[in-house]
Amino acid sequence: MELFTILLLIGLVVCAVSASLAKNLLNTLLIFMAFSLMMSMIWLLLQAPDLAITEAAVGAGVDTVLFLLTLKTIHALKGTRFDKGHDEKH
């Protein structure tokens, strides 16, 4: 069990580093969502099921939706119809 915990914690560090190094904002966001899910598993291992439920619903659910909608508004979703150049905006 301790080994699993340490693996999860190392996964958290890897996710945090790659989220801050990724160039594409969408990749950053998806990695951050994985970070939240691992965090909710760690809450379960720390005997805090209330936190696990809240983190899974809020961190991985609502937070990600808000970030995605922001990315859509700022035209950062490359390769979709939301990706527009600077010229069209003026």
């Binding site: 904002l25 961190g59 937070d63």
Partner: protein, 129 residues
């Protein structure tokens, strides 16, 4: 030194929480992109919650939810419920802060058409003149 390593390997939750704090802090300092800054802030948030919750955990005890309320409750059965309650409050406040800062980011983008903080500051100064 070997003493320190023994302590760190025992307190691995706190050590990892501090490493996460460092990662979040440095991405908050060095990134110019506002979205990356907000994500760094969120990582810092999570690390502080992890640090706080790890103090409530006690080996071999279970979550503070009483299965059989007819038996008198013994303190030795359950972990400390206080840090969990405090962190639960913190998570929801963290979501509010994230939503507010994302809304501000959207407005900044609509005005200046960029997310780079340096460029935003230059453009804002240009407007003042």
């Amino acid at each position: 030194m070997s003493n320190a390593i023994a302590t760190w390997s025992g307190d691995y939750y706190q050590v990892f929480a501090i490493i996460l704090f460092g990662i979040g802090f440095i991405s908050l300092l060095l990134h110019k992109n506002l979205i990356k800054k907000i994500i760094g802030l969120n990582i810092m948030d999570s690390s502080v919650y992890l640090f706080l919750t790890s103090f409530g955990f006690i080996d071999g005890r279970v979550a503070p939810i009483v299965a059989d309320p007819s038996v008198p409750v013994q303190m030795e059965t359950y972990i400390n419920p206080l840090p969990t309650g405090l962190v639960l409050t913190g998570i929801v406040v963290g979501v509010s802060v994230t939503a507010f800062s994302l809304a501000l980011t959207q407005r900044l983008y609509k005005k200046y058409h960029t997310l780079n903080l340096d460029e935003i500051i230059i453009l804002a100064k240009r407007e003042e003149v």
